[in-house]
Subunit: 430 residues, 2 copies
């Protein structure tokens, strides 16, 4: 590796996240635009739900006491004094011995305390009265004010990420707008003399690159796009993107001039300990290295740092795409979410699965990220999906993440897993 | 229920999806904007990856035959004739008995067929020559042209939904733009005289509704926002949203005038078989009912239809939020995705879990959607999360989806599940 010592992953992650705090910046947005955003404060009910007593059945609003003792042989006779449709503010008042026809969802009239179901009644005397064949208890078939939610109840907490389901509830609670965390501003700088930028190619019919356009020895800068997509997936705003040559002064100057306008700086490439690796040089010399060399594979060359002035987080990820992905998901995305005050820093879904084959032990002390593909043998209950480690033909790490569904963490102290072991798969961003 | 007969869920779903076909509309977009979009064609490699032979180690490019027989006691002596850095188009040609210093990732020079690792060599004679202590086989430590992907290989298929990881690969393959399915245009019409629209309230400081603003007997129209969020989550574009009073002519005219400008029409409310339920009346009388009354709970009042002219899909969902959610996830989202040619019609993630308590049998012949909350007892291997059915206090179905993580399907023929049974949880859109 070239690193004298690798820092424990969990320590590195918590030391890094501990240098940062929620930005406390927020904006008001309409609920229609709020899916995926992080709430900046608790959402409380502004009024009780429901805010009026509501019939839960089609039938008759009654005083329950008037139905006590009712039976098939001993029906109670009540006088029909009106009817209430859904959506109407009922102003009829129910007296003793009276019944009011009511629809499911309609507002219970004053004086009534229960709804007797239509099927427990029979109209008589030209629909002027009903016979009630079954008693109803006080409150029967009525949903009372605040039964769903009383007023002032917290229904969604600060730091929660809004879902489509939440949007429906928020509308029901009378929220048109929400206060959400502003998206942190992220700068992405890819370094490396060997990189060609897609942006430098002239537009063709579909804008794509032909074989003839490629400069032998160089490679296309793909990390810029991978990191950008992961930043956006994590909730960040890409405020600046540049490709930089391997030049200490250029890197230093670019970093310094970005500090005041962004919240996190992400660099790709040049993070290892070789003579062409400029990032450790720049950060050591002009800013602060928190950790460099982390006990996780891929991703061990990751550098975690912060700027000398303003203490803003710096993340330097490897130029190798899978190592960059691991570093982004382990440090970059959690950092973005911490700055937004999100309560969940790693939003990936976890799916338990059975390992399709044994995973042998490899060097203790290093956490490994195994790429696996999931197969569902059987969609019925009682079956877990099978997680097969993705075979790397050649050394294309990038192919291995595109062709896998997620990562399985093999902990530092693990001697490997037997085939069939139940493991947790963290599903790739999608 | 009021339905004479309920149609089997799977039959209803396939009959409905069979009336529709991919729209065949597409657009070109930059890869940075492509996450979540559906590919309109297969993506092939435009050139082999890598497109030049590449050193996999720091060391010396050599003719492997020159190293055969090398050993600690019998080193081979090679003459250093140059060096190749990463990113450079090497024009040096390697002759017999020669070695060229090369960096990981750099282009292998003509004449070389292997790389001998730096640690298996020792410079001698003022760095003019090296001793090689270990033989390297032909192709050793070299990644050959096309070893990752040959040219013309399909790497992502038509109908695939683009992920952040894909974006990295696409950049590497020289794609700046992609052809993706255009988002289907969806109209959302909520019906019901009892609904108040959030839009009708004057803007206040935060735009939210106070208790005093509420009209007793009425409820806020939340389905409009829920359905809109689910349409967008599924990949559709909300092209029209309106609230309609319960008026057959108004509903008919609105539907007729939307036909030519949208791809799917979704109605909420009035789908059951009561006298105030207008949707079955309108669709029966002027268009075509495919199925009305489906053996799924919640969601049984769903109506699946299509327009008389142009045969466009109509989906009528219940006004009850959870029933609307089930219908959207079972029919609405799959319809949107089928129109885009997506290969996966239901994109929810499935998480296996152990039921926290027994789920009793309730009426055969009807598929049930159980709302569950997941708890991870232990993040280590060998443990499944526990899925606890969400208790409904009162009858707030909406609360039950916000407070749950997903649905467990209880099939039509199931007699219930024991506590501890492994079930599949379909995670709510998030």
């Amino acid at each position: 590796m070239g690193f004298k010592e690798l820092i424990d992953f969990s320590k590195a992650r918590s030391d890094y996240l501990n240098i940062m705090h929620p930005l406390g910046r927020f904006e008001f947005i309409g609920i229609s635009d709020s899916v995926g955003r992080i709430l900046a404060n608790d959402i409380k009910t502004q009024f009780p739900l429901p805010y009026f007593n509501k019939a839960l059945m089609d039938g008759y609003a009654v005083k329950s006491a008037d139905t006590f003792g009712a039976g098939i042989e001993t029906p109670k006779l009540l006088k029909i004094v009106g009817s209430i449709e859904i959506g109407v503010n009922s102003k009829i008042k129910l007296g003793a011995g009276e019944a009011i026809r009511i629809a499911t969802g309609a507002m219970l009239p004053d004086g009534a305390d229960a709804v007797v179901k239509i099927e427990d009644t029979e109209p008589v005397e030209n629909n002027e009265k009903i016979k009630v064949f079954k008693p109803v208890s006080p409150g029967g078939n009525v949903m009372h004010v605040g039964e769903d939610y009383p007023a002032g109840r917290v229904v969604l907490s600060s730091g929660h990420q809004v879902t489509p389901q939440d949007v429906g509830l928020l509308a029901n609670l009378g929220y048109k707008k929400l206060r959400v965390a502003t998206k942190p501003r992220i700068a992405i700088f890819t370094t490396g003399n060997e990189l060609m930028s897609l942006e430098d190619f002239t537009e063709q019919e579909m804008g794509n690159i032909n074989h003839a356009d490629l400069a032998p020895g160089k490679i296309l800068d793909s990390n810029r796009y991978l990191i950008q997509a992961l930043v956006e997936w994590g909730g960040g705003l890409v405020a600046d993107v540049k490709h930089l040559k391997d030049d200490v002064d250029l890197i230093k100057d670019t970093l310094d001039s970005a500090i005041s306008s962004v919240d996190i700086m992400i660099f790709s490439g040049g993070t290892s300990v070789g003579e062409k690796d400029m990032m450790p040089v720049v950060i050591h010399q002009y800013h602060q290295v928190i950790h460099h060399g982390i006990a996780i594979r891929p991703g061990s060359a990751t550098l975690l740092g912060r700027t000398k002035v303003q203490g803003k987080p710096i993340l330097c990820v490897s130029g190798f795409p899978v190592a960059a992905e691991v570093a982004m998901l382990s440090f970059g995305v959690p950092a973005i979410r911490k700055l937004m005050g999100a309560s969940i820093l790693d939003p990936r879904v976890i799916v338990p699965a059975r390992l399709g084959r044994a995973v042998p032990s490899k060097g203790f002390g290093i956490r490994r990220m195994l790429r696996v593909k999931l197969t569902w043998d059987n969609s019925g209950p009682g079956e877990l999906p099978v997680a097969d480690p993705v075979k790397l033909s050649g050394s294309s790490a990038q192919r291995s993440i595109v062709e896998s569904d997620g990562f399985v963490t093999i902990p530092e102290n693990c001697e490997g897993y037997e085939a069939g072991t139940i493991v947790n798969v963290r599903i790739h961003p999608h």
